[in-house]
Symmetry: C2
């Protein structure tokens, strides 16, 4: 359930390109026109616009956006303009190359490994090789230390079965394996890592349910009771992204807004990456968790073209 | 360097389908006609023939081949008729479900992980999910025991960088890591497994060369000196498939033919899977290793339509 609004009659890619070029020309840039065009087109429409732009003007649309726009607004529009696999490969690379490498950064790897389709994950790995001249796994190994490294390599290497196939015996058996590992605070246990990174998400949801039924606490509560390190945080995100991705992304939005200042990069990432997937559900989950509206939170913490762009992705009329 | 001979003027898929249907009709089957058509078309041409056959006759070409042909000949033609990712997913599944699970069976997983492109490997994993309703990794875990399981899961999960990017410092450092693990007979060492399953093949070749320069023995010799178990055999195939795949496939052909009786499944697999990739080099390598011709070996150990079909894939005129 996407939030973006694609008009009923979509202009041709050539018409859209013409509007964009007009918005770039002259002294100022017409940011509103850019938002109106790109903010209301889905991924395959944006791809065609980029190809057509290159053909007509012999220029890269991304380069033009980069030279015309700036700040959080520019970064958000450019992120939105990339093909999703390239966008996610760039997000992952930025996280791996960041100095901090805390959970706010590294969780993007879990999002792509656990809250995307296996086809998309494979496409991200392919895009990563093309853009950065090494495999994603190699960059995880050289930039993240053990034991988080082991978990992340295993997660991004998965190609899960993507249809509903649940075996209740496996759910029961593997709930026990997970519980034993967590009780022993052995969160880098081979079996735990393999279960979380090879089982299909429907199976994992059933396993997590068994866990809760058998042990009266949810698996993420038990993981958090192990400690407050980065490994515990990563595994909690694995469980949330698998079990209930909209809850995870509602939490990313909340965390990006709470307190003094705003973490615009996280806010942008959550909205740009989910606007075409499950943003409607994220909005509902945000309301349930915070008793306030996600849209009002975004309006309250952002301004100008950046606000207008995010609100357009959230379905506001412009 | 493929060995198959595609005619200069290729008939349309509809013409090919007509010839195939004619070969199926009547009392007997015209095997030679089937060999002439399918044995001289590349993978994308065969794909179009299958699609066109389905459209014209509302029947699956594979099903027709299955009901018309039998024995080693039938199995070879059907294997050749599948799209390569589906073919390899089926080969891998057969290996995992076989009772024996010795090196002759399990090496097919290494071939697909180390002697194919990363795109092909991802396509095989996707096809595996579609055909067998679970991920390839799940089936490895439930059918192969540790430590071979760990190595195979890691290898099939790779998405290596596929261009030439070699870092001589990495080659030196990782030759030492590999040597230390092998010297300690710790062939399931995490670092060893990660190096073999994440580094690009050009980097690995440089690392293996460093290994030989520094320690005067090749890495595969040292691996074999560790023991004669299945893990040693698997790792030797990893090294060969990475370093010199044509040497591996020449050896598969030799082993399938040597001694009493022929291992037709292995012979078929080697020729069917490499006829469009590097069979010309495999032939050269076979000659270097055995001082006799691969073609003569195939002719000597096979007969009838099966022989004619394999020889057609090896470029013989029919």
């Amino acid at each position: 359930m996407a939030t973006i609004r694609v008009p009923e009659v979509v202009p041709s890619p050539a018409e859209d390109c013409e509007k964009l070029m007009k918005a770039f020309e002259g002294l100022g840039t017409d940011e509103k026109a850019i938002i109106r065009v790109l903010g209301q087109r889905n991924a395959s429409q944006r791809k065609k616009i980029k190809e057509t732009f290159q053909q007509i003007y012999d220029k890269s649309l991304i380069d033009c956006l980069d030279s015309e726009l700036s700040g959080d607004f520019g970064r958000a529009v450019i992120l939105w303009a990339y093909d999703p696999p390239e966008r996610d490969a760039r997000l992952v690379n930025k996280a791996l190359k960041s100095r901090k490498k805390n959970i706010t950064e590294l969780q993007v790897l879990v999002e792509i490994a656990c809250a995307s389709s296996p086809q998309h994950l494979a496409a991200v790995r392919q895009a990563y090789c093309v853009l950065f001249e090494c495999s994603l796994e190699e960059d995880i190994i050289s930039n993240v230390s053990l034991p988080v490294q082991k978990v992340l390599v295993s997660l991004v290497s998965s190609y899960r079965y993507d249809k509903e196939a649940v075996d209740s015996i496996i759910a029961n058996t593997e709930a026990v394996i997970l519980h034993d590992a967590i009780r022993a605070k052995n969160l880098e246990d081979d079996d735990l890592v393999w279960i979380l990174s090879t089982r299909n998400i429907f199976q994992l949801r059933a396993t997590f349910q068994c866990y809760k039924d058998n042990y009266r606490k949810s698996i993420d509560e038990d993981i958090r009771a192990c400690g407050k390190g980065i490994l515990e945080s990563i595994l909690k995100v694995v469980v949330w992204c698998t079990d209930f991705p909209e809850r995870h992304f509602a939490e990313v939005v909340r965390a990006s807004i709470v307190g003094l200042g705003t973490d615009e990069d996280s806010l942008t990432r959550a909205i740009v990456t989910r606007a075409e997937i499950d943003m409607m559900k994220v909005r509902g989950e945000y309301f349930n968790a915070n008793k306030s509206s996600l849209d009002n939170a975004v309006i309250g913490d952002t301004s100008g073209d950046y606000k207008d762009f995010l609100m357009t992705l959230l379905g506001a009329k412009i």
